[in-house]
Amino acid sequence: MTTIQERPRVLDLPAPKVTTGIADVDIHPVPPADALTAYLPRRWREIVREYGVRTTNGLFNLGEYPQLYGGAMRADTWPETGFPGSDLDLIRKQLLDLYDVQLGVLQCISPGGQALNPASQALRPELADALTRAVNDWQLEHLVRPEPRLRAAISVAFESPDLATAEIDRLGSHPGVVAVLGLSKTRDPLGSRRYWPIYEAMIANGLPMQIHLSQGGGNPSTGTGWASYHTEYHVGQVQSFQSQILSLVLSGTFDRYPDLRIMFVEGNVAHFVPLMQRLDYHWETLRSEVPDLLRKPSEYLADHIWVSTQPIDEPDKPAHLVEYIEEFGADNVLFASDYPHFDFDAPDAIFPPSFPAELKDKILRGNAVRFFGLEDGA
């Protein structure tokens, strides 16, 4: 079946620029109740109404670990009605205006409020496709168009790369789109060749990918079974990112796609440093298993892997934070607030007083230029 993909009206949007303000790479909008309905074809509307959205757990409308407090929302972000992140004026007031965010990148991971799994995790590929398209069209029309400081990372049916690439091609040239949104919990590690077509489409459209932490995805919450308590579940999020970075590097994905840019969002920074050092160390012994790799593993980071600061690492000695960021790569760390979610990071609060000003400047604005391919505002 060949259909001409309907494209939303392309806006006359100027390219995003970060000059005096900052870039925030992780903002979570929530579509108001029923907002997506208008963007869903009737047949899917009916199916969702009758059967819900089936995902990899046996719950009708929940992720595996329902958040402990108020949907994991920052308690001061609830609008008069609806969920945090559903009121554009409040996003402006509490985030964009307050911190002078010039580029805020939307990570819409929950189409139906706090409870529903992300659209891209719907098990039925065609439904995941319809839901992610609806999310994307909604955010472009209702957030990016009225508020061009916000730009979208578009959600895609990640586990069905043929559908994901079609969506990337549909929206890739839209000026409101600055990245493709993936999730940390995937069915296979990200270096798996079945995901390669997605990377090809991204590169063809000049887009990088943001991988945001998630639940779900079809594997247990850890590689050694399901966690019980929220401490374990939430601490475990970085473990998924660790597995993903190893897979991306060792699969040769970056050799195959030299223009691939990936950012891990809400996955901390410090832990990647010893992991890559460990990988280098063992690669020296075991490189005969991956003879095609063109570079030493850690050498791929500078060109291919970016990370966001939130949740900021809080060592007992603040100097350790700076050390780890510099060891990871001062040019590859970007600021994220995670607004309106709980464990929000404020750009004026997370940097210890001793934090070097130049490094802070890179994290808050400079490093966004290369990752998102912006015009250099400097």
């Binding site: 402990l68 995937t186 069915r187 296979d188 590690p189 990200l190 594997n219 247990p220 919450s221 850890t222 590689g223 050694t224 079974g225 966690a227 019980s228 308590y229 929220h230 401490t231 374990e232 939430h234 601490v235 475990g236 970085v238 473990q239 998924s240 660790q242 597995s243 993903q244 190893l246 897979s247 060792l250 699969s251 901390n268 410090a270 832990h271 010893p274 992991l275 050092q277 460990r278 990988l279 280098d280 160390y281 063992h282 690669w283 020296e284 012994t285 075991l286 005969s288 298993e289 991956v290 949740p311 690492d313 809080e314 060592p315 007992d316 000695k317 350790h320 050390e323 709980f342 464990d343």
Partner: protein
């Protein structure tokens, strides 16, 4: 290094050493290899022996160190009669206790009984394996100690096996694999912690797994290198589980030795765990102190592979980030080959006192092994 530094008495890092003795240098992770499934036949009863033969003696050689890959053996090791390192006690003893070597070595036999799905077979084979270790290894050299291999799939039976083996004081700890079917903090696994504490035995969490599910939270890694390096993530999960589920409150004398799984990942893990504990305290109200403080007290990490911390200054920086000098214990990971030799970890520090802790006194805290001061 390794020469006695104290003439009378002395201390472990945190507990006293008996008068006239010094804390022993311990190699906390050395691998004895079961040469063949048939090696267990003398230690299985008739039923299980006949079962094994009828099955054509399936050899549960684990894939943790592919035997022909570079990690399997260091070039200089003395092979056993079958040409493999670690299969014969005299060869192993000659290598491990060569000049400048340790006073004691702890054997971790990784033969994969834990991957047997049939629970009663797993129980029988774990028992046979421990008897094989006692007769063919521990009897051969009194400097050898060993870990008790337990049938992880049936924690009550694992506890019974700990009770049985602990009577033989040469079993110095309990061996669990890094990846389990259910995280080790889960109450179903408490009989193992209870038994280990009852006998004053540390529990080693060693690289390896039962492979009941993908060994990462995002599916199956394609390469061995990816699996091997990535198993540190499962140890983060295990420690998060053990702490969160309250094992360390329930069994407060518990000591854990994370073995052959690196240690560079620990500081960022502790910071994240502490920060989220502050958020989620009401979910785990028995945790009345920071997870990092509990882990610093209860958990030790073996130094091989050294993962790059053998570079000058790197070990000192790590200890500063760990916030503790107590957490590392020396291991050679014999006969496995890594990018640097085991003792090269000492290059990572300019502090001889730290190296002495790693080689002797930190190990004394967990194993209580000492030798005469004049040795």
């Amino acid at each position: 290094m390794g020469a006695p530094t104290m003439t009378t008495g002395g201390t472990g890092a945190n507990r006293p050493v008996p008068e006239g003795r010094r804390a022993a240098v311990v190699d906390c992770d050395v691998h004895a290899v079961l040469p063949s499934a048939r090696s267990l036949l003398p230690y299985l009863d008739d039923y299980w022996a006949d079962q094994l033969v009828a099955q054509l003696a399936p050899y549960y050689e684990p894939g943790y160190h592919p035997p022909s890959s570079p990690i399997a053996e260091r070039p200089e090791v003395t092979p056993g009669p079958d040409g493999r390192a670690g299969t014969a006690v005299d060869a192993l003893v000659a290598d491990v206790f060569s000049d400048g070597g340790p006073d004691f070595a702890v054997l971790n036999c990784l033969y994969g009984v834990q991957q047997i799905h049939q629970p009663r077979r797993e129980i029988a084979h774990a028992r046979a394996l421990n008897d094989w270790i006692a007769r063919e290894w521990l009897d051969a050299d009194d400097r050898l100690r060993a870990s008790i291999v337990v049938p992880q799939g049936t924690p009550d039976a694992a506890a019974e096996e700990i009770d049985r083996c602990a009577a033989d004081g040469r079993f110095a700890q309990v061996l669990l694999l890094g990846q389990s079917e259910l995280p080790y903090g889960r109450q179903i696994n408490w009989p193992i912690w209870e038994a280990a504490e009852r006998h004053g035995l540390p529990v080693a969490l060693h690289i390896g797994g039962v492979f009941r599910q993908a060994p990462t939270s995002v599916g199956w890694p394609g390469t061995y290198l990816e699996w091997y390096v990535g198993q540190q993530s499962n140890l983060e999960a295990q420690l998060a589980s053990i702490v969160s589920e309250g094992v360390l409150q329930k069994y407060p004398s518990t000591r854990i030795v994370v073995s052959e799984l690196g240690f560079g990942w620990v500081p960022p893990f502790l910071w994240k765990f502490d920060k989220l504990w502050k958020s989620y305290r009401p979910d785990v109200p028995w945790l009345t102190e920071r997870p990092s403080d509990l882990i610093r007290r209860h958990v030790r990490f073996t130094t091989a592979p050294s993962d790059g911390f053998e570079r000058p200054g790197a070990l000192d920086r790590l200890v500063d980030r760990l916030g503790s000098e107590d957490m590392l214990v020396y291991s050679s990971d014999y006969p496995h080959r890594h990018h640097s030799a085991p003792r090269e970890i000492e290059n990572g520090s300019s502090d001889p006192a730290l190296i002495d802790r790693i080689r002797r006194t930190n190990a004394f805290d967990i194993y209580g092994l000492s030798v005469h001061s004049d040795l």
